[in-house]
């Protein structure tokens, strides 16, 4: 056992993992996060807490992670390199760990020009690869980036993201391998709509045995409407949605599209379960949290293991 988080325990048990995602509010309302966490708590093993997602200012991921710890739940605190230099990042890693947070997901973060403070200065002192290695070195080598020793190591289960739908495609498995070599224990992918491409990526992952070095969680995003599908297809960096999928929603009667979006989501989960090397799913239903229990149940992934 590395950090002893619930996520790590479920992974070690060999069960198919389900993680969910919570987006902190644009307010200091702690009940907002408690309410959404309660909605999902029996249906997911751990909760990603986004770090100022799409570069929009929200309550800090570590603060919300602490709320979950107080509720006895298992947060996966997201940490981007966009807003902090290595001093602040390492300080926050220590702080998160001190608050009882046991999982950290390392990523670069959406560029600041997407958000509500487009005039802000992007930090990017280190990159996501270097962040993964920094957390690992603070945990396993007892060392800060600068080489100085910690007074005591941190205990964190390290996550990273990979996008099988980004380019160049040939590099995407190399990059995954690099992240695992840097220290990632688990991987969450970008939302999957193009299953054919995901299968090809997973085949290459399995050929290299990478699924045995880190647990691969397939990213799932339920589509609420045709507009949401089109928006993601055209505006969200790193997401590709095949035309057939948009057409399927378009061909459905308007008042049944939400249901059809859920059907697509559940089929995607079931197909991912069939793919060799996939260790679980990461369901991203930010601003549509209430649908997650239904998705998990209909996908046959309920009840969740109690360890």
């Amino acid at each position: 056992m590395i950090a002893g988080s619930n996520l790590e325990k479920v992974i070690n048990s060999g069960e198919f993992v389900v993680t969910g995602e919570l987006g902190p509010p644009k307010s200091a309302d702690g009940d907002f996060i408690r309410h959404h966490a309660e909605m999902l708590q029996n249906h997911v093993d751990a909760f990603n807490i986004t770090d100022n997602q799409t570069a929009i200012v929200r309550t800090s991921s570590i603060a919300c992670g602490n709320i979950l710890v107080q509720m006895g739940l298992d947060p996966i605190v997201q940490m981007t390199v966009r807003d902090r230099n290595r001093i602040a990042i390492q300080s926050d890693i220590l702080g998160a760990s001190a608050l009882g947070i046991k999982n950290m997901l390392c990523l670069s973060g959406d560029h600041q020009n997407f958000g509500n403070e487009p005039g802000s200065k992007g930090v990017y002192d280190i990159d996501s690869m270097q962040l993964i290695k920094a957390v690992k070195d603070m945990r396993d080598e007892n060392k800060f980036i600068g080489g100085e020793e910690l007074e005591a190591p941190v205990s964190l289960f390290i996550g990273a993201v990979e996008n099988p739908f980004a380019d160049p495609f040939d590099y995407r498995v190399d990059r995954l391998e690099k992240k695992i070599n840097a220290g990632a224990n688990f991987i969450q992918t970008q939302g999957i709509f193009d299953l054919e491409r995901f299968r090809e990526w997973m085949k290459r992952v399995v050929d290299r045995g990478l699924h045995e070095k880190a647990t691969i969680l397939a990213g799932i995003i339920p589509m609420k409407s045709l507009g949401a599908a089109r928006y993601m297809k055209n505006n969200v960096a790193g997401i590709t949605i095949p035309d057939e999928m948009v057409d399927r929603l378009k061909g459905t009667e308007k008042d049944k599209r939400k249901e059809e979006g859920l059907n697509i989501c559940i089929e995607t989960i079931q197909q991912c379960q069939e793919i060799e090397g996939v260790g679980g799913v990461h369901v991203m239903a930010v601003a549509w949290e209430e649908v997650v229990p239904d998705i998990v149940e209909r996908a046959g992934l309920y009840p969740r293991p109690s360890l």
Partner: protein, 226 residues
């Protein structure tokens, strides 16, 4: 070269509003080449100021001329007496030129007429692109002559990130993904495996993050008295 753009005329008019006797001073090097602050632009700017002031009924004496480089004292010295005759100098040099003149002759009222943009080169007529940040610790030997510090929006050293799509950056389809280009070049040269090496965090102390920089070269300094 240093690439700049002229400030909006409205801002220039506002900056110069209190002054009557104005010199628009062009600079003959980088900003002449990038068509922002040479003699031609100095004359155009001067006549725009004159017309504007006439329209406002606040006539001003506005003259335009250019020196080779505003960033070296010896060129400034050649016209120093003439410059002292003006209430205000609108410098069409980069920020380096403006500050060189102010430092050399604090009496001069020098104002910037340009927004200094970046170190770059002309991609084609009328298009300039940034390709160096002056970080003080060049990595171009690692990245096949394509700078990720400047040309990757996140300055990452272990790219490309998950926002790279069809060779373009997540911030805009008008921006090339530098790491896509690096990957392409490494692939052609059969050196893709070098990308698997984890590049450590960069030492930014050699850049502006280490504080304002000064280079002292003892080997080329002239000792006083010699």
């Amino acid at each position: 070269m240093i690439v700049a753009e002229r400030k909006p005329l409205s801002e220039i008019m506002e900056i110069l509003a209190p002054y009557q006797n104005i010199c628009v001073l062009g600079c003959g090097t980088c900003v002449t080449v990038c068509l922002a602050g040479g003699q031609k632009e100095a004359e155009e700017t001067a006549s725009a100021i004159s017309i504007h002031r006439k329209q406002e009924g606040k006539d001003a004496n506005v003259e335009a001329f250019t020196i080779e480089r505003q960033c070296e004292y010896e060129y400034v010295d050649e016209v120093l007496e003439r410059l002292k005759g003006y209430d205000a100098i609108l410098s069409l040099a980069c920020g380096v030129g403006v500050q060189t003149m102010v430092t050399h002759e604090p009496e001069l009222m020098v104002f910037p007429g340009l927004n200094t943009q970046f170190f770059g080169y002309p991609l084609e007529q009328g298009v300039w692109t940034e390709n160096c940040l002056g970080c003080g610790n060049c990595v171009l030997h690692l990245t096949q002559g394509i700078c990720p510090i400047t040309r990757c929006s996140k300055s990452i050293l272990n790219g490309p990130c998950g926002g790279s799509q069809d060779g373009k950056c997540e911030i805009s389809t008008d921006v090339d993904c530098a790491w896509h280009l690096i990957h392409e070049r490494l692939e052609k040269m059969n050196k893709l495996s070098t990308l698997q090496e984890i590049q450590p965090p960069k030492d930014w102390s050699t850049s502006h993050h280490g504080g304002p920089r000064t280079i002292v070269r003892e080997d080329v300094r002239i000792d006083s008295g010699e």
